[in-house]
């Protein structure tokens, strides 16, 4: 039996040391009246169920507490609003809430607040962005009937129910979740802001709620969302959770681009900037000194092969291309060393990460690559490289890759296919990419499962290259059904090894986050999910 209990997770000391260091010996600034500001891009939504981009999530995690939170160093789950999350079979989970928690309007946080919120998010006709996160709860299908003829004239029928059968409230502070299949990582997934509770008032008018959400976290809205200008928050006086705010309030100042936000940071007009533009990183290191922060992130870039294309059938050809790429040189040239070259399918922040599971097939070796390329018989016709146009650096690194392939493998003709961002994923899903393409993965939660299942599982939602290996599928489900996260890691690592041997993709690099802050604040902790821990910020 697996059991997560508040305060019993082995992260206490490390977390404490971190907080103490972050406070800089400040001591009792608890009652400060001062506020600070954070630069932000305009979020799409502030309703937790409808927000899936990091800007919205940053605001939501200031306003809402979640069931669990993840340790920024180890990635392990700790309890936030949950007192315990337990299961005997990793399929039926019992979640018990801590007592005495309230929303900003005084309403009690109950099991029902969670169940109602989850049902609303999973209800297809609501059209919320986090709908698919609930897909592994029993009864989800009844809320999301499939379109009988895909894009055809017939429309999907109206759902027969608006409540998932897998959610059951047992008493005021306890509810039971039944999953469609065992998932040992379930407590981890609950750290996502899509799973927070909603107060009753939200259901009266979701649109109004989106403009000034009433949460249960350390900060509450101070007025409504001023679009394209600012979102103002103040400390929640009735807060009973485990992360009380140190500052009296904070303002999210909205910027259309990070260049301007960086100038404002230099001028001292904004206190925290989460993403320093890549071009400014070298000078920011100099200018900001100790106020420059470099955090490893969970986002990965891969070069994926279209396995549905016969020309890429030979694994030696895929090895050859992988070995002909000098990852180190590209990250230096294109990203000013801001990203780190990678030989793994999972990010360094994920429990179970290994430095080099790929070995020689991801190591830059021009002669070895050429030998394998010749052995595979080369490639017919021009090689096309596919990427989306949403960021100019994609073309830059693809051009660098092309040059290396030309030089090291002697491929004479390489073409670039730059696709409008909005069409890119559809193009890949429809198997229209006729050559290696950029594959990017932003994790949903820091588990190897999240890096393997969706991308390389046979039915993975983001498996667009046509890869399938029954052994990999078996190992992933073994990991999902394991008794503990620790035990699951062994299976995920075996799966990772197998995938790397088949090489449907080759790892390129792992993103890092460069941030900065002003002299005005201390205690800045930015986690691998690119979120600032607002409760810990101390204003001088």
């Amino acid at each position: 039996m697996k059991r997560f209990v508040h305060g019993r997770l082995g992260v206490g000391l490390a977390a404490l040391a971190l907080v103490a260091a972050a406070c800089g010996g400040g001591g009792s600034e608890e009652s400060t009246t001062k506020t600070f500001s954070v630069a932000l891009t305009e979020p799409a939504h502030l309703n937790p169920g409808d927000s899936n981009e990091s800007y919205g999530i940053q605001v939501i995690q200031s306003l809402f507490d979640r069931l669990t939170e993840l340790d920024p160093k180890t990635g392990e789950p700790k309890m936030q609003q949950a007192e315990s999350i337990t299961s005997n079979d990793q399929k039926v989970w019992t979640i018990k809430l801590k007592p005495g928690l309230t929303f900003h309007n005084g309403e009690k946080v109950t099991a029902q607040s969670y169940v109602d919120a989850w049902n609303a998010a999973a209800y297809g006709p609501n059209g919320w962005a986090n709908n698919y996160f609930f897909g592994n709860i029993e009864g989800y299908d009844a809320l999301n009937p499939e379109d009988p003829d895909e894009d055809g004239p017939k429309e999907a029928p109206k759902p027969e129910s608006d409540e998932m059968s897998g959610l059951k409230v047992t008493d005021e502070s306890t509810f039971e979740v039944t999953l469609t299949a065992p998932l040992s990582q379930f407590p981890l997934t609950l750290a996502y802001t899509g799973f927070v509770a909603l107060p009753k008032v939200a259901f009266d008018d979701f649109k109004k709620f989106d403009q000034a959400p009433i949460g249960n976290g350390p900060f509450q809205m101070d007025g409504v969302w001023q679009h394209n200008r600012e979102i103002k928050l103040k400390r929640f006086a009735g807060y009973k959770g485990n992360r009380p705010a140190k500052a009296a309030g904070l303002v999210y100042k909205i910027y259309p681009n990070n260049d301007t936000a960086y100038t404002d940071l230099q001028a001292g007009k904004v206190d925290v900037l989460l993403t320093i533009p890549a071009a400014k990183v070298p000078s920011a290191k100099r200018d900001l000194g100790e106020r420059f922060l470099d955090t490893p992130a969970g986002t990965m870039d891969f070069l994926a092969f279209p396995l549905y294309d016969k020309r890429f059938d030979d694994v030696n050809l895929r090895y050859a291309i992988s070995m002909a790429i000098d990852r180190e040189a590209i990250t230096k040239a294109v990203y000013n060393g801001a990203y780190k070259s990678s030989k793994s399918l999972v990010a360094p922040i994920v429990p179970g990460f290994r430095d080099d599971p790929c070995g020689q097939h991801c190591t830059y070796d021009p002669t070895g690559a050429k030998a394998l390329y010749d052995k595979a018989g080369g490639i017919d016709g021009p090689l096309e490289l596919w990427f989306s146009n949403s960021d100019p650096t994609y073309r830059q690194w693809m051009e660098a890759v092309a040059n290396q392939l030309k030089q090291n493998l002697g491929i004479s003709e390489i073409k670039f296919r730059s696709i409008p961002a909005a069409d890119y994923l559809t193009t890949l899903s429809e198997h229209k990419a006729t050559g290696p393409y950029r594959q990017n993965w932003v994790m949903d939660y820091p588990s190897a499962e999240n890096y393997l299942g969706p991308l390389y599982g046979r039915d993975g939602g983001s498996n667009r290259g046509g890869y399938s290996n029954p052994q990999v599928d078996a190992l992933i489900s073994k990991g999902n059904g394991a008794k503990s996260i620790r035990e699951s890691i062994t299976y995920y690592q075996q799966a990772e090894d197998l995938v790397l041997k088949d090489m449907p993709v080759t790892p390129l690099w792992n993103w890092r986050q460069q941030s900065g802050h002003s002299d005005n604040v201390s205690g800045i902790l930015i986690d691998p999910y690119i979120q600032l821990h607002v409760d810990k910020v101390v204003v001088k």
Partner: protein
Amino acid sequence: MWRYVARRLLQIVPVFIGTTFLIYALVFALPGDPIQALSGGKPVPDSVLQALRDRYHLDEPLLVQYALYLGGLLTGDFGETFTGQDVFTLMSEGWAVTAQLAITAWLFELVLGVSLGVLAGLNRGRALDTLVLAGTTLVIAVPVFVVGYTAQLLVGLKLGVLPTAGIDEGWPVSYVLPGLVLGAFGLAYVARLTRTSLAENLRADYVRTAVAKGLPRRRVVLRHTLRNSLIPVVTYLGIDFGNLLAGAVVTEGIFNLPGIGQQVFSAIQSKEGPMVVGVTTFLVLAFLLVNLIVDLLYGVLDPRIRYAGSGARA
């Protein structure tokens, strides 16, 4: 003259319908599925896709979508964005900012531009004239984003006299620097236009007559010469006001002003038809109105110009 004004105002109606349809069709023709773009790379379940397509009528053909949009417009409903915000509220907030920015820039063009032009024109061939000519050439040659970032670094960051970005300090403080950057090109142009026009008119027969009559130089320059020299300048200022409104995209981006320039930029990226159409239609209307005012101003400046009922200027 009132018949002329009424006729010009009536002409706006077909122009309005034409532009809204054209722009709606253009946005419709943009490639890509806006709902997929919203999802940020994560899979979207069928049921969610269907719900959002229904909500924004994305499955309907162009003409039906446009009719629905126009119908809404007649009842005062400007539609909503894909993030569920009311387009009218967004637009009125954006317009307030952009209008303040454009007016600031325009005032710079008018006051600084005309003064510099008059100074240069009166001192033709001398050092001051050369200085104005060289300075304006430089401003016209350098792209606006270079001027913008440089001004922001120098004035905002190094000297710290004006805010680097944002509208926190309101009008005029927050708008001075962006207004100057936005108006720089027009300012240079107005100065050169005024200079040339003034210098030419100073040699005209009627000026020689005025001087011969013994009028004081001040009166000759201000009443007789400048008034006549301003006609091309006013034409330019009129057209440029529209350009200032439309051309604020770059300046608003640099200085983080939440105006319509930024709104329309992000709206085009996310295929938000109602937003793009709303903003551009208002732009067209503003452009038409300003031009009408300019045409009426000719009569004030030059008494020889009269407005015929036929709509043609005689």
